[in-house]
Symmetry: C2
Subunit: 199 residues, 2 copies
């Protein structure tokens, strides 16, 4: 006896990751009872975003224009191409203020369990992008998870034979990190990749 | 440098309870990258539901018609009025198949911390509903939480002086429950409200 529009909304909310039938019901009731303004804004924002947002032709991040602002900027160093998994990761890199090159956003990682292989990620676009004649170094900044590491290995194997310098961001003890609270794997890696101490 | 449509979507997703800025970002990327069909369906469902769904004039539950199916049915016993907090609770009651009366859905509970008092809940509508001359007994089926209990006490104080019989559903050890796994409060209540054993 649930009204059909309400049933459709509950069903539709289940497309959100981590939302099961019970939570979807609760969300629907909350939106209709306590936050109709928010629900209206969300509905509008979804439909607007779907219509307006596509991928930047160069770096593959979300953009409302053919080229995103960053790729269109003449101030960036086009010889450096940093590969990240998501737009969030790109924002994190930007916040360091330590990088002035360009990006390529994979929009995912190789993850066979989720049905995401090299083809689904469109890695051939990245290879084409890296072979534009201007890029001199590809910096792999995928996560240090199993999947991010696998993606980095795969990309190295794809790009190195084409004569492009491929580097990986460093692993080690985080800045401000105390050895006591760092996991053994990180510490072992930091030991293996030790550098001459600056005086 | 986030596209404005994307920013608006991330902001709009934060109206969902329990979704902070990080989760909103992740949800937005998921919807735009991996589930555009779901996002479209959700956007449409939200706007449709907002336009179509209102409250039943009699029982206050969500309905697309002025009277919900249940209130419009001549098969229900109009002398019984069961008060529940949410439409979910009403569905739970219906699933028992043990109740043939009508309902009143509070769409919440008295909860000062959330700014919900008797006025915000529109309890005067419930009183008016209970005084229709047909209702003989109001059964309080709010939750046995602090807020549900407070709501039940408040409703009792409002309705009893008007000469209406007010009852509360029973508290006790759940069917199939083992004493070992029941909390002490429930067990104490079950002891205090003990009944003559049937032979």
């Amino acid at each position: 006896m649930t009204p059909s529009g309400l049933e459709a909304l509950i069903e539709a909310l289940r497309c959100l990751p981590g939302i099961g039938p019970k939570s979807a019901q609760r969300l629907a009731y909350h939106l209709l009872q306590r936050d109709r303004t928010g629900a209206q804004r969300l509905g509008d924002a979804l439909l607007h975003a779907l219509a307006a947002i596509r991928h930047c032709q160069r770096c593959n991040t979300f953009s409302e224009t053919a080229l995103c602002e960053r790729c269109a900027s003449p101030k960036r160093d086009a010889s450096l191409l940093c590969v990240v998994e998501t737009p969030v990761d790109m924002n994190m890199m930007e916040q360091t203020l330590a990088y002035q090159g360009l990006y390529y956003v994979l929009m995912g990682r190789i993850s066979p369990l989720d049905g995401l292989g090299p083809r689904e990620l469109g890695l051939e676009h990245l290879v084409a992008r890296a072979l534009d004649g201007v890029v001199e170094e590809v910096i792999l900044a995928t996560n240090f998870t199993n999947e991010g590491e696998a993606t980095a290995h795969y990309l190295t194997a794809m790009l190195r034979p084409k004569g492009i310098k491929v580097t990986r961001i460093a692993r080690g003890v985080p800045v401000g990190g105390e050895l006591e609270y760092v996991d053994a794997g990180t510490l072992a890696q930091a030991l293996r990749e030790r550098k001459t101490s600056s005086s």
